[in-house]
Symmetry: C2
Subunit: 710 residues, 2 copies
Amino acid sequence: MASGFLPFLAPRAVAVIGASNEPTKRGYRALQTLAKDGFAGDIYPINPRAAEIQGLRAYPDLASVPGPIDLALVCTAARTVPEIIEQCGRKGVAGAIVLALGFGESGAEGRELEARTLEAARRGNVRVIGPNTSGIFNAHCALNLVGFADLRKGGIGIVSQSGNVALALATEGALAGHAGFSTYIGVGNESDLRFHDYLAHLGADAHTTAIAMYVEGFKEPLRFLETAAEVAWRKPVVLCKGGRTTTGQQAARSHTGSLAGDYAVAKACLRSAGVVVVERSDALLPVVECLSLLREMRSRRVAILADGGGHATIAADALGALGLQLPELAPATRERLAAVLTPQAVIANPVDVANSADSAPGVIAECADIILADPAIDALLVVGMFGGYALRFSETLAAAEATAGTRFAALLGEHGKPIVMHSIFAPRKPEALEHARAGGIPLHGSIEMAALALSALAEYSEWRRRPRRVPAAPRTPPERAQRIFETARAESRRALLEPEALDLLDAYGIATPPHALVRNEAETLAAVERFGAVPLALKIVSPDILHKTEVGGVRLGVRGATEVEAARVALRAAVRQKVPRVDIRGVLATPMAGRGVELIVGVTRDRQFGPVMMFGLGGTLVESLREVAFHRLPLDREEALELVASLRTQEVLDGTRGLPVVDRVRLAALIAGVSDLCLAHPEIAELDLNPVVAGADALAILDARIVLVG
Amino acid sequence: MASGFLPFLAPRAVAVIGASNEPTKRGYRALQTLAKDGFAGDIYPINPRAAEIQGLRAYPDLASVPGPIDLALVCTAARTVPEIIEQCGRKGVAGAIVLALGFGESGAEGRELEARTLEAARRGNVRVIGPNTSGIFNAHCALNLVGFADLRKGGIGIVSQSGNVALALATEGALAGHAGFSTYIGVGNESDLRFHDYLAHLGADAHTTAIAMYVEGFKEPLRFLETAAEVAWRKPVVLCKGGRTTTGQQAARSHTGSLAGDYAVAKACLRSAGVVVVERSDALLPVVECLSLLREMRSRRVAILADGGGHATIAADALGALGLQLPELAPATRERLAAVLTPQAVIANPVDVANSADSAPGVIAECADIILADPAIDALLVVGMFGGYALRFSETLAAAEATAGTRFAALLGEHGKPIVMHSIFAPRKPEALEHARAGGIPLHGSIEMAALALSALAEYSEWRRRPRRVPAAPRTPPERAQRIFETARAESRRALLEPEALDLLDAYGIATPPHALVRNEAETLAAVERFGAVPLALKIVSPDILHKTEVGGVRLGVRGATEVEAARVALRAAVRQKVPRVDIRGVLATPMAGRGVELIVGVTRDRQFGPVMMFGLGGTLVESLREVAFHRLPLDREEALELVASLRTQEVLDGTRGLPVVDRVRLAALIAGVSDLCLAHPEIAELDLNPVVAGADALAILDARIVLVG
């Protein structure tokens, strides 16, 4: 029975510590549920004040139990726990589930208690689930230590930072009559075992075919990503992240103490590890269910088969909004459809059968067969009222409809293409839909959920088709680069000066615009001579100034020696007036850039996921627009191209409104170069190239800001 | 019984034309349903080949029927319909429901048939529902002419361009056990009666408390808006619009032939008429149900009462994403909560009761009472497992839980503040939830849906609080303005020249930047003299050129007489080279604008809703970013302020990144002025001020483009 990394989650013998004859106590209900569900292993109630509990012999303590124990459910109060874990260790108990609240989540005293519990666990070689967990279940060995009623056995594993989210999944799964569950683990405070441990366990567990997770924050985010990338190759991992918004993050802080980083960053990191991230908690079950049933979708090309034009339109809207495509059907497909449909049907994509199926529901399955044979189509979304013809029109249709349901299930195997079904009548569970469902077709009562499930399948399939990449080791920094940091360190600076930043980029082979540091009239003249008559930009260079514009430290479009020198002097004076004792190192002169698209390439350190590349629309409005995409470092050029392609506003890169077409290859090289640079220098806290102006045949870095770790 | 504008929708006598003894026919099922539901009026089956149908005396035609008939259900084929409508007219039938397909939606022949049907209807004074309608029902007089099973009687009216969408609402309503329905009308082809007629009817119908609509396109969008604005004052109107995306619009075209305009425009127009627009079809019922139960929410300040931190976080995320606020609870509220909760509870907003209710579910209602008494709170969202304590923990809790359900319902009246409830156990209908529900608390199985319903309530309440505005009559155009258009017309031009556009703005009191049309060296010198040494922008003025930049027709930042004159000559030459026989009227010279926020103020003519104001972030990327908001013309200054405030990226207007704070009053005056201008001149097809640079103390219109109706 045991599989996965944590064999005690399929125990042969369980102790319930704090077993009770009082019906409202967990120590009562756990025993009751084990008995009711028919747990096949040994059950040992532990209670020093009772000889028998619920008909089972009780023991005063673990030491008195005659046989071995794999797993202990600890139902007693927080203060008793360190001692109990000691006893577990002495008895050789492999795993302990600690339910009590009152540990790290509740202040200093609780933190101390949690530390002592962990020490006892380490000493005794006991793995701890919790504390502050809602419990666990393993439906495949009738081990229900969380007390959810009506558990349906199946392939979906759950790991959750919230017992209620798991309870909602289990309850909905039991009612909707589709999904079944394998193992649930409430992670609680993650004192010992953590998200990645449980994920690895379920990844290896033979009963688990797909994994649903609710997470507010990770204690070891990078290990989670590593584990996820491994597990996701084998089975789908669907995750809903709490704390997407500021208000949600505040709530999460009260709940699990999680300090969430930027949600967009987390989502990007999780997605590139193959995790399917859903934005709504009510999408978790529909999506994981769909992915547990259907594995491969060869492309985003979907056909819609509808009974009813309204549902056809709604489905087309929903798929379109999710980036799925509705290609035209081949002429042969249209001809074959025309042969089985009435003249009122719309034979396009969506197909609307109109009244064709009202007295012959089998027509729907026939159309599905025809559409799935079309090579332009890689998946089918059926929407409308299949399953309800008998209910809606006449009982005489029930037999034909049931046969069509079975036919649908067969089509899944015959064509090897995903079919997802929406039906108004899904909650009524008519026979036709039960046949389709039993044959592995995911069934939804909401068109929007069905579309979302299909798009999740497309995303997961795309991820699995990507080549697995082994990141290269960080480069050894060139000596030139090291010297730049040494200088900054020697001066105790928190940021590089702009000329230093440009030199650093140059040291990593990143093309920087021509520039000169001018400190006096002679240098001005030399610079003007070098750059010619073009208009120049002048910027103050000072370790004291981070936002140059705000102190009048920038002049644009000045040209000719006289004007440039006058501007240089005026600029210094203006800055000195605003910042009296400012340390001015000179003025940076660069030719003004041509017309182009203003982009940003930046690296920040996310609180959870470490250094992250940001790419998107640059300029002053970057924070307001948030038209950016993220990718965790490192990125090679291929990944950089994917990052560029993941920006929502692609047309901006493709020459909209007479802007130049951005050279993506050059841009990817820049991004990959910045990735190399930042990985080689962990002393970089933040890097911002903003704007990078992408012109017809150049990328001009107009501003480079590098902040050091404080 | 009759109420509303279409009294035949509550008929005393109904004829079924094409009545049948064949169970799969509509003419059979309609009679069967009328009998089964106990329709109290007279029923006349019409069939020339039968003396009796389903036990009722049948008549060969309408003329043979002895009594009067209010409503006819026409079940026969399309080709028979014009003649049947003639007969209806002769018999004095007030309304006819035409089910057949094969009319305007199906080509030229069908269009002719539809025209003949309409003529017959007009002649005979018969109002037509359809053709190509799924039918209607009026649950309050047991008139079910659409054949939906298990209709639940209640207050929600439905008007839909899709029978399946209505069927889905009715089926979900019956199963979810909350909503009941009054009248449904399938609009079909809207040959005679249209969306606004039905809306006006349901607005006046005493049985209807809220209205749900599914619309792909309007035949008379402006009359719909007018009607909606009237009806929405009295009862909520919730609308889901098909054709939001390009793919959806294509599908809608096949379905109803609707040529949808821009979805964002439609949404803005509908919202300002008080219509609550939902983006997902699966949100239609939850939202309309909530609005039918709860009417007034005084502000966006909500408290969350959760059992379970995970659900607290998810609810906070969902409300936060929808723009609702979670204010802090008053100290007195927190104290009172602390007195009833365990130490493990989190007393903030969200409140998480933790384990406080596990053995005393009444605590939840007690907390609700305490929270609702807090003056900082105007609505309560309860999330988690209320209704499931007995199921989850112990049957012994059932009585206390049921009492708490009743208490919740009482709190609604006591505090006069909306309560919306989410429960994992909603679909199981435990007694506690049935009590709350019966007392008028909307109940949801999804936290995200509950949050959406609450935000819809907030939006609707805000709309109802707005003063009702009577738009001023269009201004009489000043003579100066008329002359500008006369000149353009005389030259058969499709657009105004930029100096004309600026003059026109000026004629309406809109501040334009200083500018001069220079056509020779003397005019250049005069302009440079007038503007001083500041850098100038030069732009080609030509009726042949719409996109000046693309033909090299713009020079920026030139200064001094020599440079400006050289640039003027070079610019003309460059344009002439690209566009050989170009008609150049001169070069427009204006001082370069200072730093500021680039905005767009524009007016377009929407295919459905006519002239619409667009406001948002301007510049070259305006189409790609779509960071814009819309409002139908006219707009007064108040409405213009609201339009400005509805832009998503508000921080851009509030001085982000050292940009100036935008003067909203000045901006609103500009927008209202443009509204006046465009209403006074219907010959304007499109107007674009882009960019309008909003500086610290000025708005500079850097480009003005006015295109005329072709």
